[in-house]
Structure formats: structure tokens, C-alpha cells
Point group: D2
Chain length 333, copies 4
């Protein structure tokens, strides 16, 4: 019995990665895609709305709303910046709830996907541990719940290799019994570029679409499957070796493209092949040797903890009126 | 809003504790209760079958089968003994499955109750991480599963204070979707006596009955609730301060009862009150001061890991014919 | 070879415990001992100066200064209280430095005693991880160190069972090479009473005196041994089962002593024996059975983390003028 | 004050990496370097003796003995293979002790370098926790130590960013007080190639030479500094992004060099620059952007634990005659 333990499955789906890849064809704007970018105090926020099927095809993303926060400075462990990012994330998330029509009274189930024993995959479970859950009080002593709190529950379902059950099946079972109005799913992603790892947070109302999992039996966490809307919060925590290489080749092209010397010639031929062809080339070399490893920065233990705190504190203050980012720390540990 | 986080809930239900408490009234045998004790190589095994309502009332336990392994030597971290206990537990558990009519083809959901962040309450989640789950292969590539493996899934649902959802509701949701034939629930217990903490494993076919939880809305994990049989595996990992005190007073009574001196007099009056009255007395003193803490031996980190390995390895070899205690280590991590 | 791994050694030496035990003989004041108690906002601070040999004998403590913070509310995980305790501890510690004549320019080595793998013994190593060390900058780029920072180094030497070397020998070796002006040693203690566990911090200028260790070869961390003053910061994190029992008996005596009923009689005879005789009695019962376990509250994981943060943040702001409790969090992780 | 916390410092010094880099100039043998390679059961062992200054210069390594075990299969978590590697490592280490003249009676200090909070840098501290230390028994009860045990002590000194003190200073202090005959230093390394990460163990009698640390004040762990021989055991656990890229380019060159198509042309120009020039090129692109991150495979948590067990068990059985790899597990936890 050759068992693939399947303790980890990576989805590569940052909308900003897709936007970047579509930039060659659509340098200015993509038809059917609204785009808005702000960049202040080291926090770059990109809001992409994929409105039409045409836009969806052009950018290679399903229709929906995507908000991305990019904060390269997070790599330096600056506590002041972390607080500003928490506030920005809380503000964006609250706006996002309004944008997609979530009401103050709507109940929420937070789903922390991933494996708490694999550091770069432990973001979801860590967020679950740090969000303020209240459903038990609404159930057991509803008249004693103070105003300003929303009914929240949370679950870290574990990964297929540990449970033997698809996360989506576990969540469906819980949704059927507890009837939340909204799912918020937190997940670790793979990024196309190493510099986005641990510095980027994406909010999207498209749910979680399973990647290239085994067979076609794998189910996602989407409105179609669950019957309620699902917001996905994704943070890239890993990178394929092949995409690092590919990305560097692209950077070399740009770097030496600007200069006039013999090195330009060296990289010249790379211009003749498309990015996808080049990636295929790299994979052709790496895969048979088992070298296309998924890697993560060595500081991952600290990064994951910092980002989980940002997401959990941001969710606490945007979901409960009675909590703001100043005091939300009090409810996390 | 006065929120009791309810991150921990202790059940005091070792059948051997109950047997001991009933010993005064029934020194030899309890009507309606079959009892069989073996003691070999430092492993004491007690098999109690509570057969009738009369027996149930006499011993203070619901009707069902109870097997308890007591191994005081586990406190010393002896690896050889740990291996012998693993084998004994595997043998007892396999016999137990036969006793209650579980077939080789029956599918199993293992439920690890408790909180992975509170060391003495992390036994269930630790066992879940270390059992061999196979359901994904039966689902995704059924024709490739080797003979000798049973279909197993596993879940650590988390505690009410973290999830806002009763464990029993989460498990019910999963049972409804995945239709296992048997539930095995692993749980940390409170013991009456400090010396049973981390040295005792109980197997019982009575499921999990919620303790004195908030209100009467809390549900258990029982055949009535889940529709399938539920075997509970319990290990005492904590003790109330009050039961330690009470237990010591009992030991002092016995100790000095045998001697002939003035100290006998000191303890004399304690004979005049029943154990329950004495416990009430101790609680009367401790509780208002907030002193009736739940405590655990300081070596709890190591104990929990050792016991989790014993239970996980024992389950692996008793549930899968293709695994024995010699090789089961290969499937745990 | 019968090896006692000696991975843990407990010292029972809270001065407030000693004060309490001496209370029967000296209800008001102890000759040769100055005492000052304040109690505000849930933080009780006791300052004891044992000035003379007579005082030392009366209270059973070596001559020196002892400051104890008792905060029963710490058991409830209240973040606001934790911040107030951090400030109080920082203030007391700064005063303590002045009291014993430590100058702003004096360099410090912080020693975190204990075993990072045994949760209730991991306080010292946790504090070491969270204090702001600066010695490397003074050594490698002295002209770039901003004003307001003191030269600090830190070490967690490990325990005898892990290293095979007495902590004091390791520290002596480091002191000889790095020549600090002051040692601050952080250590987990055993308390006489369960309610002081995890709610009490003691500062004393007496160093660390080894307990009843094996043989008489064990050395302490004292000015005599190290050649520089040593401040010990101790937090009780464990309790012997026997002292819990003894303590409860004492509370029962007091409780029922005030009432007039038959229960008074039950406890009456306990009055006839001294506390030490009673403790000996309890140990006589527990020890041969191996029942005199050292225990810790089940919430120890969270308690240890909270207290370590309080001590580390308090040290950071009292040792560096440039750091205050408002911003010291920025330097801890 | 701009503080570089310096919590991690990587040394790139696998002798097999150096051998590989020298292969172009010395395809068969290197003058002044003895080389012996065996490859059996998936374990490749390379024994390199750098005998002369000429050899040292040719291979770019200091004179000394280097033994490397390469086991690509370790990436798959196969427990059987792990046991065989433990045996092979123990055998090689025992031979190595003989080779460099270590006697049965010689006492040993094991030094676990690195930071236990940064997973890929925690190898040293993890090994220290799992080796059998005995020095305390030789000190405290020398007549009770059974034959077949060597006097061993162990220390995990921590990293400069945590302690403010160079590891070498801490170790020197301890060496001066405890007078061991041999130091064994365990350290995590950076590798030139991603596939060697977590699959390679190097034994060398050259001690630890500090890398490109801050200034020239940093000291190593060498016989010159410590006065006793120092064996370094190194395991690569991380890789620079730049070396991954460079390595892949090399693989692409070789891959497409064998084929006859247009892609050969694409890579053709890369042949015209040396490996070092190419690496400089890659760094020129990555560094200004802060992209030359140090990365580690995402499965690092499990890999580190497995390798630490192999090294600790191997050391236990090769250092103590009374321990073999069959029973050495009993002394590790």
C-alpha cells in the first residue's frame, strides 16, 4: 500500500500574483476587473473586483472581491508596524463585510485550515486559538450576553492526513448542525514569489477551492457546497523551489535588461520564452530529482505567530462592535 | 458580560475509584457486578461488568463493561515497562472489541477530546495525532488498500471555550456525514487519588457522560446521542486539591489505625464521619477561599507524552490486523 | 547503576511563608526583622529586612532584604492586572537595586535556572528568552550603543540531569570570563500553600542556596561563591502534596475553631500537635507509598507564560532607563 | 541604536559541497586529499582526509578528517531507514574517535549550538536534551557508576542574540572549570544544495570556525581556543535562496547539455561564466531587494526531530560501551 500521507496541500492563489502575471498583456487595466491600489506607511492595499466572465478569464481568477495587504516590513518584526497592520486589516475586513452584505446580527463560523504540527501550515489553527468565540454564551445564557458581541464559533478541523476526512466534510457537518450565516476560512497559501511569503494577507469572498488534490473527489469550502457565503483569508507562508528560481530569472531579466553590457546577452534568450514555458523548463529539471521542494523562510516560527496575532486581533475588532484593536489583545492569548 | 471561558471540564469517573468507595458496604462482591482482577509484572487489570440496575446503583456507575489497567511503575519513565503496557492495553482493547460485538470490517471514528494547549488536557489530541488513519485511502483509492487495515478516521474537536460549540455537536455532525460503525473517545479524567494520576487507563463501553457542566443543555457522546456505540478510553491526569486531602486523611486513618499510640486518638474522631461527609468538610474550607484547585504532577509534560504513545500504539495494533505492537511505532510520530 | 536523573530540585523558601510560620511565636513583630506591608489594587507587597542574627534565627531566613508581591488575582488571567503587576514589580525592583547599592553603570548577568522541558520549572529559561540583552553591542560596537541602556547578558544553564554540571559551576565559569557586577537569578520555587503558587513573586539579595541536594558537594549562587552580589527572583510554581494536606488541616482548624459545634471537636486534637509534627505525620503516611508528589495547578502552561512576561518586562524597564513598561513589550517576543 | 539581533548565523561548510565545487579542476583526485566513498543500502559515506596545505588550498577546507553520511531517503520519514542510519552513524563516530586518538577513559563535553526557538536552528539543543549525561554520577557517587559508561556532560549555550555572550566564551568558561578531554559540538549548517538539507550528517575534527560574523572579534570552538580537541557534527538544515537558484541553473546546464534542441542554446551562454560568477550575478539581483532569504523545507519540524534522534542515539551508543543502538533509545526521551 503506497500511502501518500497528504498532510499538506498548497494552493497558489494570490490575486496579486495573478494580476502580476496578467500585466504583460494588460499593463494598464483588465477589462471586467476593477482595481484600486493605495500605498501608505509601508502598507500597500490592492482591491480587485473581478466583475465579469471576461475579466475572470483575463486574470485567471473566479469572479469575486479580492483585497490584499502587502507589508514587506513585516519581515523585520517591528511591533509598531504590526499594530498598524492589525488596524488596517480590521478596517478592510469590516468594509469587506459591508461590501458583501453581511449584517451585524449574522452569526459566524471561523474555520482554521491546516496542520498545527507543521509550522508553516499552522496559521489557521493558531488564529482559531486566538479569536474571541461567544456562541456558547448565546446558547447557554443568551440573556446575559452584553451588547456589541456577535455570535462566533470556531473550528480547526485538521488535515486529511491526520483525520482521514476532508476538511470540507467536517465543516459541512458542523454547518448543518450550527447554522452560521457566514464562514470565514483561514488558510496558509503558497506564493509565486518569496518576498510575498509572510508579508501578505488576502481577503476574498470566493471561499476555498481545493487545488490539484488527489482525484476529483475533493470538495472545497464554497457557497455552493456549504449553502452560506465563505470569506477566505489567506497568507502565503511557503514557496516552491521552482517558483523561486523562476522568479529570480525574471528579476535577472529586468535587472540586466536595463544595463548595457555583455550580461544582457546572457539573459537575452530568456526573453524569447514565456514565463510559463520557463517555469515548465525549471520543473522539468527539478521534479525527477525530487528537488522541487516547498520551502519557507527559516524564521517561520516567529512569522507565523506574528501574522496569526494580526489576523486574530483584526477579526476580533471587526466582528465585535464592543472590541477595538486597542483592547482586543485582552481577549487573545 | 461575565464569561466563564470553560476551557476545561473534568469528569471523575474511574470505575475502580467507585469500586473502592463501595468497598465498605460490599467488601467481597457487589450483587449485579462481575469482577475479575489480575496482577502480573506490575500491571494490575480489573475487569468490571455492571450487569443489573441493582449493581449499577450499588457501585454508582451506569451499566456496562469497564476494564482498568493500573501501572504505578509508569511514574518512573521505564521504557521497557511502557512497551509491556502497550502490549497489555492492545490485547485488552482487542478483547473488548470482541466482547461488545465489533466486527473486523466495522469502521471507526476516534475522537480526541480536550485542549491541546493545556498539557494535562491534551491527551486526546495527542492520541489523534499518533493513530494511523486510513479512511482517506478507502475513499479515494479503495482498490489499493492492502488487507489487514481497518477504515479509521480521527478528530480532535477542541473544547467549548475555544470553539463555542459542544464537542458532542461537532462529533454528531461528523458522524452524520461519515457514518462510522463505532466511536472511540479518548479523554483526560480527574481521579480520586493522586497515585492513579498518569498511571491508569480505563476502557468502558458507556460513552462519555458530561459532568456537572453549565446548565442541563450539555450533551454527551453516547449511543443514545450518536446512534452508534461509543467506547471511552480515559486516563486520569489531574486531581482536586480536596480529594488529595481527603485521600490522605483516609490513609492516615488506616496507617494509624494499625498502631497503638496516642496518634490513634488524634485520628479517631475522623472515623465517626463518613468519607463523603469528610470531603464535604474539606470542600467547605477550601472552596470559599478559591483553594480547591485542580492539580497535576509537575512531570505532566513527559507523562502525557508517554501515555499518549501507549494508547495510540495500542489502538493501532488492536484496530489493524496488519499492525502489531512491534511495528506500530512505524506509523506513529 | 541506579541513576537519579535529578532533573528537578525544589527549594521551599518564600520569606512570607517563613513569616507566617513564625507568626505564632511573634504575632506582632520579630526582633531584628523590619517589616512593611502595603496592599493596594489587589497587589500586596511585603518588605522584610532580616537585620540581625537574632532576627535570622527567629524567622528562619538568612540575613538580607526580601520583597514579596502577592497577587491572588493573577490566577484569573486578567490582562489589565498583569500590566499593573508588571509596573509594580518594575518599581520595586528598581528600588531594590538602589537599596542594595547597584549603580546605573553596573553590568548584569541574568541567570534563568530550571528546565525548559518541565513546564513548572521553565520560568527561568522563559525569562531569559524575553529579556533585552545588550552585552554583544557593548562588546562589538560600543560607540553605537544609545544612552539609557545597561550592559546585560543572560544564560539558561539547564539542570544537572540534562547537563551533568551544577548550574553554579556553569555560572561561575561565565562570571569569570565576562565579569558582571551583579547576578540576577530567576528560579521556580515550591510554596507551603497552594494559593501562593503562580500568584507570588519574591525578590531577595541572598542569592540561591541549594536545598537538600545530593551530598554536600552542591554549590549555590551566592556572593561568597561568585564574588559578586546575586539577587534571586523566585516564583512558587509547585507544592508538595504533603504541604497541601497540612495547609488544609491548618485552615480547617481555623475555620472550625471559630464555630461552635461538634466539628470543632473533630479537629480539636489537631491543636495539640505543632504544625511541624503534623507535617511529619502527613509525610510519614505519604512517603513510603510514593504519594508525596510535587503538584502544580493544571493551568500551569498559561500561568508560567504570564508570569515570565511580567518578570521579563519588569526587568527590562527597571534595568534600562530607555525602556519603560509601556514600550518594553517591543523588546520581548 | 540599530540593533542586529544576530539570533542566527549560518556556516556553509560541508566538505562534500567543497569536493563537488573542486570537481571541475580535480575530477579524479585532489593532491593532498585522501578520499574514500562507500554507498550501501541508501547510505552514502564519504571519508575525506585533507592531509597537506596543498590539499587544503585545493579543496578549500582546513586540514583534518571529514566523514559525511548522505541519505536522500531520510526525506521520506522511513523509521527502518532511520534506525540503519543511527547504526551507521554510531559506527562511523566510534571509528572517528579511534582515528583521532580518543581513549575510552576520556571525558566529553557535548555542546549543542543554536537557538531552540528557531526550528531549523534547534538541532544542537535537541541533541543535548537527548544524550545520556553521566558526569554528575562520576562527581557525586563515583564508586557507584557501573562499568561501560563514559563521563559525559552537555550544554546548550544559546545564541548571541539571546545571551549577549559568544557561545565560545560560555564554552571556554565551562571547559576551564570542568576540564573535559574532548568537545563534541553539534550545529545546524547551510548547504549549497537544497537536496542535502536534512539528509546529510558531517563529522569533522576541525572544530567550529565562526563564519562571517560581526567584526573580527568572534571566536570559534577549536583546539587552539579551547585547549582540547573539538569534533564538529554538522547537519545542513537551511539553504540560501541564491544557492538554490544557482544550483538549479547548474542542473539545467547539465540537463539540457545532454539534449539536442533549441533549449540548449538558451542555456548555452551560462557555460561561459564560472559558477562563482553566476552566484555573484544571482546575489547582485537578490540582495538589494532583500530577497536572498534563508529557507528551509516546510517539513522542518519533523525532520529536525528525526535527525536529532539519530545523532543523540548514535552518540549514546558510540560513547558508552554499555549502550548499543538497540537499547540506547531507553536513555533518550
Amino acid at each position: 500500500m503506497e500511502l501518500d500521507l497528504q498532510q499538506y496541500s498548497v494552493r497558489t492563489d494570490l490575486a496579486v500574483d495573478s494580476r502580476e502575471m496578467a500585466a504583460k498583456q494588460y499593463p494598464d487595466s483588465i477589462p471586467g476587473v476593477d482595481e484600486e491600489v493605495s500605498d501608505k506607511d509601508g502598507i500597500k492595499i490592492t482591491r480587485l473586483n473581478v466583475l465579469t466572465d471576461e475579466g475572470s478569464q483575463a486574470i485567471g481568477r473566479v469572479k469575486g472581491h479580492y483585497v490584499t495587504l502587502e507589508v514587506p516590513g513585516l519581515r523585520n518584526g517591528d511591533t509598531g508596524l504590526q499594530e498598524r497592520v492589525t488596524e488596517a486589516f480590521a478596517r478592510e475586513f469590516e468594509d469587506f463585510l459591508t461590501l458583501i452584505g453581511i449584517q451585524k446580527k449574522d452569526t459566524v463560523l471561523i474555520v482554521g485550515l491546516g496542520n498545527w504540527n507543521v509550522t508553516p501550515d499552522s496559521l489557521g489553527p493558531l488564529v482559531v486559538e486566538n479569536v474571541l468565540v461567544t456562541r456558547q454564551y448565546f446558547e447557554l445564557m443568551p440573556d446575559q450576553v452584553a451588547p456589541g458581541y456577535r455570535q462566533i464559533s470556531a473550528i480547526a478541523p485538521g488535515v486529511l492526513g491526520i483525520t482521514g476526512i476532508e476538511s470540507s466534510e467536517i465543516v459541512q457537518g458542523i454547518v448543518e448542525r450550527t447554522k452560521p450565516d457566514l464562514i470565514i476560512a483561514i488558510d496558509a497559501l503558497a506564493s509565486r514569489s518569496l518576498e510575498r511569503v509572510n508579508t501578505t494577507i488576502q481577503i476574498a469572498d470566493i471561499g476555498i477551492h481545493p487545488g490539484s488534490g488527489i482525484g476529483n473527489k475533493r470538495r472545497g469550502l464554497t457557497k455552493e457546497v456549504l449553502g452560506v457565503p465563505c470569506i477566505a483569508i489567506g497568507v502565503p507562508t511557503v514557496c516552491y523551489a521552482s517558483t523561486i528560481v523562476n522568479n529570480v530569472m525574471e528579476m535577472m531579466k529586468q535587472h540586466f535588461g536595463k544595463e548595457t553590457n555583455q550580461t544582457r546577452e546572457i539573459m537575452g534568450l530568456l526573453n524569447n520564452i514565456s514565463e510559463n514555458e520557463r517555469l515548465a523548463l525549471v520543473k522539468e529539471v527539478l521534479e525527477p530529482l525530487g528537488h522541487d521542494l516547498i520551502v519557507t523562510p527559516k524564521e517561520i516560527d516567529e512569522f507565523i505567530e506574528d501574522i496569526a496575532n494580526i489576523v486574530a486581533s483584526g477579526l476580533n475588532s471587526s466582528l465585535h462592535d464592543a472590541v477595538d484593536t486597542g483592547n482586543s489583545g485582552a481577549f487573545t492569548h
